[in-house]
Symmetry: C5
Subunit: 293 residues, 5 copies
C-alpha cells in the first residue's frame, strides 16, 4: 500500500520536549501520560480559605465556643446525610463519597499529554501492528478508558464496535459523576432546610418558655446556630463541590474522548495525521497538538 509506506518513510516532527517522540518502529511502547496524583489546589485552597475566613470572623467576636453545639451539628450534619440518603441508593452514596475525594486529590488529566499519547499510540500500531500494544495493557491500568482502548485494539475489534464500547464506558463515567453531583446538590438543598428545622425547634422551645427574659438571647443564639451550619454546609461545601464534580467529569470525558478517537482511527487503519486533525477539532485551540508539520 503506497499510502502506508509513504507514511512509514516520513519522519515525524520532533515532539515537544516533555513528550518522548512517537516510536517510529521497534517494540518500545508509546509514552503514557504522566500520572499525577496531586491535590486539586483550587478546591483545597478555596475550601480552607473560606473556612479560615469564617473562623476569623468568629475569633474577632471572641466567642468561638458559642458556635460549637453538638446537638446542632447532629441535627444538621446527621439530618442532611439521612435525608439525602432517602433519595439515593447506598451505592450512589458511596460513589458520591469517592467523587468527593477526587475533587481534593485527583489524577490530573492533562488533555495535551493525553492527545500526544493517543497520537503516539496510533503511530506505534501503524509501525508495529496492534499486537505490539499487548505490554501496554497492564501499564495503562490507571486510566480505565485508555486501558480499555488498548485492549480493544489488541483484540482487533472492528472500529464501530470499539467506539461504541468506549462511548458506553465514557457515558457511564459521566453518568456516575452526574449521580455524585446530584447527591451533592440534593445535600446542598437539604442542609439549609435542616438548619431551618433546627432553628424552628429552638424558637418554639424558647417562645413556649418566655418567663425568664434573660434566657431569650442565648436560647435564640443557639437556635440560630443550626441555620448557620446549614448555610455553611449548603453554600460553602456541597453546592460548590457539586459544580466541581460536574466540571471534572466534563474534563475527563474530553480526555477519554481522545482515546476513543485513537482506538477508532487505529481500527480503521487511518493515517495518524488524520487522527491529529480529528483530535485538534476536539481540543480547545490553546491546547492543540502538532506532531506533524
Amino acid at each position: 500500500m503506497t499510502d502506508r509506506s509513504a507514511i512509514r518513510n516520513r519522519h515525524p516532527a520532533p515532539p515537544p520536549a516533555d513528550a518522548p517522540p512517537p516510536a517510529a518502529g521497534g517494540g518500545k511502547p508509546p509514552p503514557l501520560p504522566r500520572l499525577h496524583r496531586r491535590l486539586d489546589l483550587a478546591t483545597v485552597l478555596g475550601l480552607s480559605s473560606g473556612f479560615l475566613l469564617v473562623l476569623g470572623a468568629l475569633l474577632l467576636g471572641g466567642r468561638v465556643a458559642a458556635f460549637i453545639d453538638i446537638p446542632s451539628i447532629l441535627i444538621v450534619v446527621g439530618g442532611t446525610t439521612a435525608v439525602t440518603t432517602i433519595s439515593f441508593s447506598p451505592s450512589d452514596m458511596r460513589a458520591a463519597l469517592r467523587a468527593l475525594g477526587r475533587t481534593m486529590v485527583a489524577h490530573t488529566s492533562d488533555p495535551q499529554a493525553a492527545a500526544r499519547t493517543a497520537l503516539s499510540l496510533a503511530e506505534h500500531v501503524r509501525a508495529n501492528g496492534p499486537l505490539s500494544l499487548q505490554p501496554m495493557a497492564r501499564a495503562t491500568r490507571g486510566w480505565p478508558v485508555l486501558n480499555r482502548a488498548v485492549e480493544l485494539i489488541v483484540d482487533g475489534l472492528p472500529a464501530d464496535d470499539a467506539e461504541r464500547i468506549l462511548r458506553t464506558e465514557i457515558e457511564a463515567n459521566i453518568g456516575r459523576a452526574r449521580t455524585a453531583a446530584a447527591v451533592m446538590r440534593r445535600a446542598a438543598e437539604v442542609a439549609p432546610a435542616m438548619g431551618l428545622i433546627g432553628t424552628l425547634v429552638g424558637l418554639v422551645q424558647m417562645l413556649g418558655n418566655l418567663s425568664d427574659p434573660s434566657t431569650v438571647g442565648p436560647a435564640m443564639a443557639v437556635a440560630l446556630i443550626t441555620t448557620f451550619y446549614g448555610a455553611i454546609l449548603g453554600s460553602m461545601v456541597f453546592s460548590p463541590l457539586a459544580a466541581k464534580i460536574d466540571r471534572n467529569a466534563e474534563r475527563e470525558a474530553m480526555v477519554d474522548g481522545l482515546y476513543l478517537l485513537a482506538a477508532g482511527s487505529v481500527a480503521r487503519q487511518e493515517n495518524p495525521r488524520r487522527l491529529e486533525v480529528l483530535i485538534n477539532t476536539v481540543l480547545p485551540p490553546e491546547l492543540r497538538v502538532t506532531a506533524y508539520e
Copy 2:
C-alpha cells in the same frame, strides 16, 4: 443454517454461581431473576434516622408535647393533601400512594440478574423454539414487562411490533412514575405553603389580641409549629421521596429495556452472542455480563 448449528454445538461458558446456566436444550425453562421483596434500606433508614434526629432535638429541649398540636397537623397534613389533590385525578393520587409504598418495600430489580435471564431466555428459545416458553408465561407474572415479552415471543409477533409494544409498556411505566413523582413534588411545594398559611393565621390571631403580653410567646410558638410541620413534610418527606420515585423508575426502565432487547433479538432469530453485546452496551461497565467467552 451453519451459523445457527455452530451456536448450538458450542457450550456456553459456565455461568456465575448465583445464576443457573443457560439451558442448552431440553424443556427446562430459563432461570428467572429472583424475586426479592425487601425493604429499601436507604429510604427506610434515611427517613427513620432523620426523624429520630429531629425527635432527639425535641427531647433535648425537654418539651416534646409542645410540638404536637392537632389543629396544626390537620391544617398542614390535611391541607397539603387537599391542595395536592386539586391538580391531579383520584387515580393519580392512588398511583402516587402505590409508588410511595414501593419506595419502602420494593421488588429489587438487579440489572445483572435480569441480563442473565434475558440471555438464557434467548438461548432457550434458540434451542427449543419459541413455544417452549409457554410454561414461563405464568411464572413471570411478577415482572409485567418480562411477562409481556414472553407472551409476545410465544405469539410469534414480528420483532418490530414486539419492540413497539414493549416500548409503549415501558414508557407507560415511566409515565406513571413521573406522575407519582409529580404528585410528591407538588406536595413538597404545598406543604411549606400550608405551614406559612397556618403561621399567618396564628400570628394574626395573636397580634389582634396583644393585651396580655405573657401569652405572646406561647401563641407565637404555636403559630410557628405549622411552619415546622411544613418544613418537615416538604424537605424531609415529599421532596426526597419524589427524587427516589424518579430514580427507581429509571432503574426499572433500564431493567425492562433488557427484556425488550431480548424479545427483539429472539424475534429476529439473532445469535444470543449478539444479544450479549447489545445488553452490555446498555448496562454500566461494572454490571456487564459475560455468558460467552
Copy 3:
C-alpha cells in the same frame, strides 16, 4: 378488492358489554362516547376541603371576623387580576376563565370509550362507505375534534391533509390550554407579591405612627392579612389550578389524537385491525382496547 372483502366477511369479536358492537353493515351510525358533564371531584373536593381546613383554623382562634378585611381583599384580589391582565389580552383572560370552569365541571373524556368510538367509526365506514357518516356530523358537535374528523371523512379529504388539519386543531386546543395555564401561573406569582405589597403598606403606615403602642398589634395583624390572602390565592387556588389545566389538556389531546388516527386510517382505507394496533400503541397498557381477538 380481496383484502377488503376478507375483512367484510370476518365477524368482529363481541365488544365489551358497555359498548355496542361495531356495526358490520347497514346504516346504523357507530356509537358515540357517552357525554358526561360532571363535577371534577378531585378539584372540587380538594379546593373545598382545603378551604374548610383553613376556616376551621380560623374558628379555633375564635376570631374569624379579624380575617375579613375588605380593603385587603380589594388590593390582593383586584391587584392580582389587574396585574395579570397586563401580560395578556382580554381574550386570553376569557379563555382562562373558561378553562377554570372546565376544571370544576368537565366533559369527561374517557380514553377507552373514545378508542371504541374511533374503531367503530372505521369499521362503519369500511362497511358502508364514508358518506354513511353524514348523519353523525351533527351528533358529534359536543366533541369538536371528533366532529371535524367526521366532516373530513365525509368530504373525502386525502389522509395527509386530514391529519394535518386535525393536528393543527389539537395543537390549537393545547395552545389555548397553555395560555390559560400561563394566566393562572402568572396570577399565582402575582398574588403573593400583591400580598407583600399590601403588608408593606400596612407596616409603613404603622411604623410611621408608633406613638400609641397599643395599636401596634392590631395594625400589624391587619398588615399581615394581605400576605395571608396572597398565600391562599397563590398556593391554594391559582397554582394547583394551573397544573390541573395542563393535565386536562394533555388528557384531551390524547383522546383527540385517537380521532386523528381514525380519520387517517379511514382515509387510507386501512384495515380497522391496523387502527386498533395503532390506538393501543398510544393508549397506556391498562386502557388498551381489544375489539378483535
Copy 4:
C-alpha cells in the same frame, strides 16, 4: 396552462363585509389590513387599575405623603436603571423603551385581516403579474415584513431566497423583542434587589443610632419604603411587561409568517387556493379564513 386559466375563470367567493374582494383582474391593488394605532387596553387598564388599588390602600391609611421619599425613589428607580444597563448595550436599552411603548399603543395586527391581505395579494399577482404590485410597495411601509415581501415579489426573487430573507427578518424581529423582554426581566430582578439594598442602608443607619427609641418607627418606615418601591416596580411593572412583550412578538411573528407564506406561494406561482390551505394550517381554528368555497 389549463390549471391557471381555470382559476382565472372562476369567481372567488364574496369576501366578508369588512374586507374588499380579491381583485379578479385590473390594476386595483389588493386591500391592505387596516392600520390601527390604538391603546392596548389590557396593558393600560391593568397597569392603571393596579396602581389605583395601591393608591386606594395608601389613602385609606390617610398618609400618602409617607410613601413618597425622593432618595428612596432615586435609589430604586435610578439603581434599577443603572444596574440593568450594565448587562446591555445602549441600543438594547433604547429598543426596550420602544418595545415598552408598543405594549401601550400598538399597531394591532389582526391575523385574519392579514390572512385576507396575503390571499388577495396572491390573487392579484396571479391576475396581473408581479409588477402590478409596484404601487403597493410604498403603501405598505407601515408593515415592514409585508413591505419587504411586496418588494421581493416585484423583484422576482426565487421563492427559496425570498422565504429565507423574510424568515431572517421575522427572526430578527423576534430577537429584538426577546432582547427587550430580557431587559425588562433583568429590571424585574434588579428592582427588588435595589429595594432590599435601600432597606439595609436604612436599617443599618437606624440601628447604629438607637439612642432615641421614638425615632425607630419612622426610620424603619422610611427604610421599608425602598422595599415597597422595589416590589411595585418588579412585580407590577417590569415582570408583567416583559411577558407582554414576549406575547406581542409571538403574535406579530405569526402575522408576518402569513406574508412569508404569500411571498413564497406567489414566487412558486402556486394556486391561491393552496395558499389558503397553508394559511389555515398556521392560523388557530377560530381565525381560519375561507375566501374560496
Copy 5:
C-alpha cells in the same frame, strides 16, 4: 472561466465612505475593521452610577463610616472568592478576570465593518489569488479568528476543513466566555450566602451577649453589613456582569461567523456576491451591507 471574468469586469459599487473600496486588483490588501479599544460605556456608567446612588443614600444618612467594616469586607469578598474558586480551576478564574476586564474596555466588534472586511477579503482573493493575503496575516493579529481565516486561505485548505477549524475556534471562544460567565454567576450566588453567614455570625455573637441592651443596635447594624455587601456584590456586580459576558460572547461569535463565511466562500471560489447574500442572512436587517447593487 466566463463566470469569473464576468465578475472581474464589473465594477463594484462604490463602498460607503468609512470603508475603502474592495480592491479590484493589485497588491493592496483589503481594509481591516478599525480596532477600537474603548470603554464599554453601558457597563462603566451603569456600574458607577449604581454605586454613586448607593453612596448618595449613605451620605444622606450622614454615617458612611458605619458602612465600612474591614472584617465584613474580608468575609464577604474573600469568602466569595474562596468559595467560587472551589468549583473552578485556577485557569478558569484567570479567564473570568480577563473577561471581566473586557466588559469594561473592549475591542468593539462592529458587525457591519466586519462584514465589509469579509467581503473585500473575498474580492481581493478573487482578483489577486490567495497568496496575495500573506502580508495581511500579521496585520490581523488583533482579531484571532480573522487572523486564522487569513492563514487558512493562504494555506489553501479545503473549504470544509477551513470551516471546521474556524468553527471549533469560535465555539472554543464561546465556551471560554460561558465558563467566565459561569464563574460570575456562581459568585453572584455565593456573595449573598456569605453575607447571610456573616450576619448569622454577628447575630449569634450579639444574642449570646445581651446583658447590655445599649449594644444591641450597633451590634446588629454591624451584623447586617455583610448582608448589605453580599446584596451589592451579587445583585449590582456579579449578576449583571455575567449577563454582559454572555452578550458580548454572542456578538463576537456573530462577527467571527462572518469571517468563517468568507473563508469558506473563498476556498470554494464562489462569487463574492453569493457571500454578500450569505452575510446578509446572518446580519440583522438594520445592519445589512450592500457592496453590490
